[in-house]
Amino acid sequence: MSHGLTVLVADDNTDLLETFAQILQRSGFLVETAASGVSAIDKCQKRRFDVALMDIVMPGMNGVEASRKIKEMHPGLVIILMTGYSDEALLKTARDEGVQYIVHKPIKIDRLIELIHKAAGNRSVLLIDDDGDINEALEEPSPINNRSHHDS
């Protein structure tokens, strides 16, 4: 079951953070959690992750800012931003900063897991429109994902 992919989940909503962590752990990921943007940067300084799953709206430092700083440290890290509803300007900034995936809450878990596998194994083809959901992203043709073998 374990595929060794490391995922950092950052969200200021504790319930959301814990349930995401539990689901991803049960699905075979190695998960660490952060309750804020600053904490997410700290975790990234301490170790390397394959994928960071981050909320956009967080107190203190928002997900877009945090992802820029994390990208500076680990340019290869795949970042998936989660949003309830954010304004167009912020989403555009996120895309300009090199964030490859933006997904909308409430997130369909099966598709999220699929997306994490795809993103982690396919770092070169990473483009998603914020209006489309994960479904659309997965419908795009992509190279073979060698590391994806989860079941749910």
Binding site: N13, T19, Q22, G84, Y85
Partner: protein, 381 residues
């Protein structure tokens, strides 16, 4: 304009008759002593003749001020001068029959010049007073118009502020509501993961229902967010017919509502935001259908154009809007429906206006409503 001229000329003729009447009466008094003398009415002659030379003043002649000033006041400068000349002519025979006619004639001419001058002065004063009154009236009208304009701008501002506040609220609610929805979805997923291998079909089914309800709740949030998000129009050349057909394709028309579509009456293209205007049409159509839902009815859609606008009329035979609600229907959060936010028409109005158009409504309670959307014709088309 024509009507005003007719009224003015009728008024002038009436005044002319009054002037003639006054002149006749005064002239009778003026010539009465002379007539009395000829007829041998000595007492009448004695009683009145001294008024012709009362301490050297012809008091009966002074009476002629009345028609001249009246003419100056009511009709203006030229009629006043003409009246003065007329008084001179009327009084001439008296001057001629008077013994010391040379002196009297001189007095008469001098008096008439003075009369004419006073008449001219009154006429000019009257004219300047009229002009100043007209100026004040125009000023008042202008002030009223500006106040009305400002009131409209303020109403619009209040409406858009209210809309912006609703938008902000929707955005906040959207964000806040989607987090708990996501937590519920995660919990349901975890429960599904924890189910024993044997798989309880009923439990799995229940969790699927839960997941489905999360999607429904999320759709309500998404609709509200999309509805209140108003972006600047991106205008392209469109055929209004296509927009109506597209709007109709989004809506399910119940069997009790009959559609009467006559949208071939216009072939002029407009430059507008097709997505925004289709939303407006869809909103009006769906309102019309709701107004006829209970008892059924007819929805007539027709198009046409005048010199400036292409118009689309949506006439229904539904429950109509009572007069006291007509002004409020474009207000954000005003609704008479059991379901709904009261945003449809306020957003429609804003969308139409930001595309340079107008939205109008005529309605009678119990009879139905007609909404007209007017969009500016493409220049040079």
């Amino acid at each position: 304009m024509e009507r005003e001229r007719k009224i003015n000329s009728r008024r002038a003729i009436r005044h002319l008759w009054y002037i003639i009447a006054i002149m006749v009466v005064i002239s009778v008094f003026y010539y009465l002593p002379a007539i009395g003398k000829q007829a041998g009415w000595t007492s009448l002659y004695n009683a009145l003749n001294e008024f012709h030379d009362f301490w050297g003043v012809d008091v009966l002649g002074i009476l002629y001020f009345a028609p001249v000033i009246y003419a100056a006041f009511a009709l203006g400068l030229m009629p006043a001068i003409i009246t003065t000349v007329m008084t001179l002519i009327i009084r001439l025979p008296y001057a001629i029959v008077t013994a010391n006619y040379a002196e009297y004639l001189f007095k008469l001419v001098a008096f008439s010049i003075a009369l004419g001058a006073i008449g001219a002065f009154v006429a000019m004063w009257r004219r300047s007073e009229q002009q100043s009154r007209q100026y004040h009236e125009r000023l008042e009208e202008e002030v009223d118009r500006r106040i009305r304009d400002m009131q409209q701008v303020q109403d619009k501002l209040i409406r858009s502020e209210k809309l912006a506040a609703v938008g902000e609220l929707a955005s906040g609610v959207g964000h806040e509501l989607r987090n708990p929805l996501n937590v519920i979805r995660n919990c349901a997923y975890l429960l599904k993961m924890s189910l024993p291998e044997t798989n309880d079909a009923e439990a799995i089914n229940t969790l699927a229902v839960l997941d489905n309800q999360i999607d429904i709740a999320n759709k309500i949030v998404t609709d509200l967010l999309n509805f209140t998000r108003i972006t600047p129009p991106s205008q392209v050349r469109v055929d209004i017919k296509n927009l109506i057909n597209e709007s109709l394709s989004w809506i399910t028309v119940p069997p009790q509502v009959i559609l009467k579509i006559n949208i071939d009456g216009n072939s002029r293209p407009v430059r507008t935001d097709p997505e925004q205007i289709s939303r407006v049409f869809a909103n009006i159509i769906s309102n019309a259908i709701q107004a006829m839902n209970a008892e059924g009815g007819e929805l007539a859609i027709e198009t046409g154009h005048d010199n400036d606008f292409v118009w689309v009329k949506f006439g229904d035979t539904g429950c109509g809007i009572p007069a006291w609600n007509l002004e409020k229907i474009f207000e954000p959060l005003f609704t008479t429906k059991p379901k709904g936010f009261g945003l449809g028409l306020s957003i429609s109005k804003r969308l139409v206006e930001q595309n340079g158009g107008k939205i109008e409504v005529v309605s009678q309670a119990g009879q139905g409503s007609t909404f007209t959307v007017k969009l500016p014709l493409e220049k040079g088309s």
